[in-house]
Symmetry: C2
Subunit: 478 residues, 2 copies
């Protein structure tokens, strides 16, 4: 493919994406294929000679598209959103077109420097404490700063590694198996996985209860730390969640971090989904106490219009990260102007992901991002009000940000599961369920880029109609 053919095919692909966005709301949201569908219709080997691009694009339309679950459908209410935007797609396209590897500063200075700059921009937009910026208030290089990770899982992992490194200074290697990490039973599974990866064998998933809206209570953390200390273990890491995966629970950061810091424990905040809400000052009370955190992560690729992958991580002091992840001896760490992001992450290679963040922040501006978040929070509020007003339903947790957890009141687990599966099979919307206090719970997670009032109304209507059929005995559990 030469430059002129690429130009032609590139324009076609852009047009394909335009058509996709125009038609996506007519498509079944959850893919309706059966496992193994694709192997039945694709060859078992690569072709011997190159094929025409038109043939490939035709196969995308006929063979790939049926196997898509449409995360960009305005009727996608599953998991948490993975929203994106046109400026972000353009940023990703440019990233691919330039294809530089920014593991070190010289690998492409603009890649490293723009990343630092846009993460400072974003930190300010989110109202993060000054310690998370790369520059101090008087303009000198700070000890902290931001970095783009692929996912919140990786952000949590590198912070756990930093915590481990800090805790293991001047300790024998055998102490490693005495380290303890804490989080709540509502935390993302990524925390447990990070412990598995890092070989931190004591990972405490501390209990929360419905009466506390699934927020971890400081006394529970305090008791766990004391018990572990009494048993001769080494508490080193605590991860609080703002906006848990199940129910969008918000841990009370200030008190929990006060408890953890008294024991020199690294305090991390996983706000993968809800972090984006902090662009709105009125939604910041959920983040009170952030100045006590060692690290904070949120995913612009969830709810801030940047396509995957883009997880932002800030630390107040990058030195423990480098202790954990740099192969350069500490005394050789560059102080000053150049920054090698390879020492802030697990992989060596890295793409120029700052471009898409920059494109989004500039295209929307602070006001545009705030309006976007407020629009979603308002729509979720509308939906929650319908649930509250309908005696067939109950809220399963306080609605927060764009998430509403609910269920058929007094109905069986099977009936609730049947409601969800009937909705998903219809193709008209897609939700997933969770378990809260042992009860089957439907999650209505709002945040698709193009969701409007009419999509939420249609979803509510569908949920209401389906529920009537299930409660009337017309549909049975699977």
């Amino acid at each position: 493919m030469d430059i002129e053919e690429f130009r032609r095919r590139g324009h076609e692909m852009v047009d394909f994406i335009c058509d996709y966005h125009r038609s996506v709301e007519q498509l079944p949201v959850r893919s309706q294929v059966e496992p193994g569908y694709l192997a039945e219709i694709l060859p078992t080997e690569a072709p011997q000679s190159g094929e025409l691009f038109s043939a490939i694009l035709a196969d995308v339309a006929s063979k790939i598209m049926p196997g898509m679950t449409h995360w960009q459908s305005p009727s996608f209410f599953a998991y948490y959103p993975a929203n994106h935007s046109f400026p972000a797609i353009l940023g990703e396209l440019l990233c691919a077109g330039l294809n530089v590897v920014g593991f070190s500063w010289i690998g492409s200075p603009a890649a490293t420097e723009l990343e630092t700059i846009v993460l400072d921009w974003l930190a300010k937009l989110l109202g993060l404490p000054g310690g998370f910026l790369s520059v101090t208030a008087d303009g000198r290089p700070g000890k902290g700063g931001g970095v783009i990770q692929g996912t919140a899982s990786e952000a949590a992992l590198v912070c756990l590694l930093a915590a481990r490194a800090r805790a293991m200074v001047r300790r024998p290697a055998d102490d490693q198996t005495r380290l303890v990490a804490y989080t709540s039973d509502q935390a993302h599974s990524a925390i447990k996985k990070a412990c598995m990866v890092a070989g931190v064998v004591h990972c405490r998933l501390l209990p929360t209860i419905e009466q506390d809206a699934f927020a971890l209570q400081p006394a529970v953390l305090q008791a766990a730390i004391e018990a572990d200390l009494a048993a001769g273990l080494l508490p080193c890491f605590y991860c609080a969640t703002v906006g848990s995966t199940s129910s969008c629970a918000v841990d009370p950061l200030r008190h929990l971090f006060g408890t953890a810091r008294a024991h020199n424990i690294w305090c991390h905040v996983d706000a993968a989904y809800a972090g984006s809400a902090a662009v709105c000052p009125e939604l910041r009370p959920s983040f009170d106490g952030l100045e006590l955190a060692d690290s904070f992560s949120m995913n612009p690729h969830k709810w801030l219009l940047v396509n995957s992958d883009c997880s932002a991580l800030w630390v107040q002091d990058a030195e423990p990260l480098k202790m954990a992840l740099s192969l350069t001896p500490v005394f050789l760490h560059a102080k000053g102007n150049t920054l090698d992001f390879k020492d802030w992450q697990v992989p060596l290679g890295r793409r120029f992901r700052a471009l898409k963040v920059w494109f989004v922040l500039r295209s929307y501006g602070a006001a545009g991002l705030q309006a976007y978040i407020r629009h979603h929070v308002r729509l979720a509020g509308w939906f929650a009000a319908r649930v509250r007003a309908d005696e067939r339903f109950e809220l399963a947790a306080p609605p927060r940000f764009g998430l509403v957890c609910f269920r058929l009141k007094g109905a069986s687990r099977e009936q609730n599961a049947a409601l969800l599966e009937t909705l998903n099979v219809s193709g008209k919307l897609f939700m997933v369920h969770t378990e809260l206090a042992g009860q089957y719970t439907l999650r209505f997670a709002l945040g698709s880029t193009n969701v409007q009032q009419r999509h939420v109304e249609a979803a509510w209507q569908e949920i209401s109609d389906c529920s009537a059929r299930i409660l009337g005995g017309e549909v049975h559990g699977t």
Copy 2:
């Protein structure tokens, strides 16, 4: 930005990339900016209101481009290549346009299924043993298969974790600090970093010597394993390299793996760069013994025309990976049709990267990829012949695939360093150096997508001219 504006801006961005590819060989290969250049010319905060896309694109041209080191320049001979291709860019664009998150099968069935299929295609193209395929010779689901990781570092890490999980079955957690990993002193730093991440405290970088062309000798591995066993340690992981970073050294897989397997050690192959060469049958002798490997990784994003990130990893048995990385108890692991790739990697989220691999394999075909690799190997051979024929130079290691390591013969370290810096400052080409047997060595790493004979001739001419000036005393060491 609405759909019609995106269409217009998307076409413009495609055109921008076309212009870039047309002009890239005129640009200084290594960026010539000073650290901190970008902060001086960008605002310190995101704008309050959205800006026009034309303003953003203008800033890309005027502010970002000077800070680029051009990995896509045909005169980029640094590190190893990160080549890409127009079909891959189109695949990345489509990936961004669809923006699905394929952590589980239902997240988008096509994303998981296409990944399995294209990695089978690629395994066959590379001549991998059948155990690495997802399907057995008689068409049943195999125990192994392929997965796309972000980087070879992550591929090595997950294999180390699998090895650790396998070794720790029915062992107390305290045994974790007795685990030992082996590789050679020529291995990529990613192996040592993987050990740091996994908390594997004994990481043996076994010595190699110039007389063996920096390949690890089985007797050295054998002696190390025996010494560790005698000390009560637990050998669990060995990583061989085909195409080391420094000099493209090739470890003799068959004998090393015979040694390692006798002690039930997980055998991994890091062929991040050189793995692509295996598409050519005549280059496969370097890979002899692969059927003894537990895992094999190579990066299509280095030398097989797929833009970053795309590192392919195959295992002969996925169960230890899942033991290490799945949060689902082993007895619940799905046997059969659906596959959740989150259990084969550290992060949860994942992009639809299989699209770009599929586009490349189909656009080039087996014959096209072979021709591409052979073209580069031939050009590197031409360059090596010039070095050999010029008595001012010496080869520092046997030239292999696209890499030629050389230096000014009998010259000082400072003179060789001056040669490299003079070349890089000229902007006409970009190389990096390495240390081989304690000597400063220049690396000529050929593999840019559009490199032609004339670029290699121009590079040789520049190297020759610069060398004359340095040997003549006109240029002094830095």
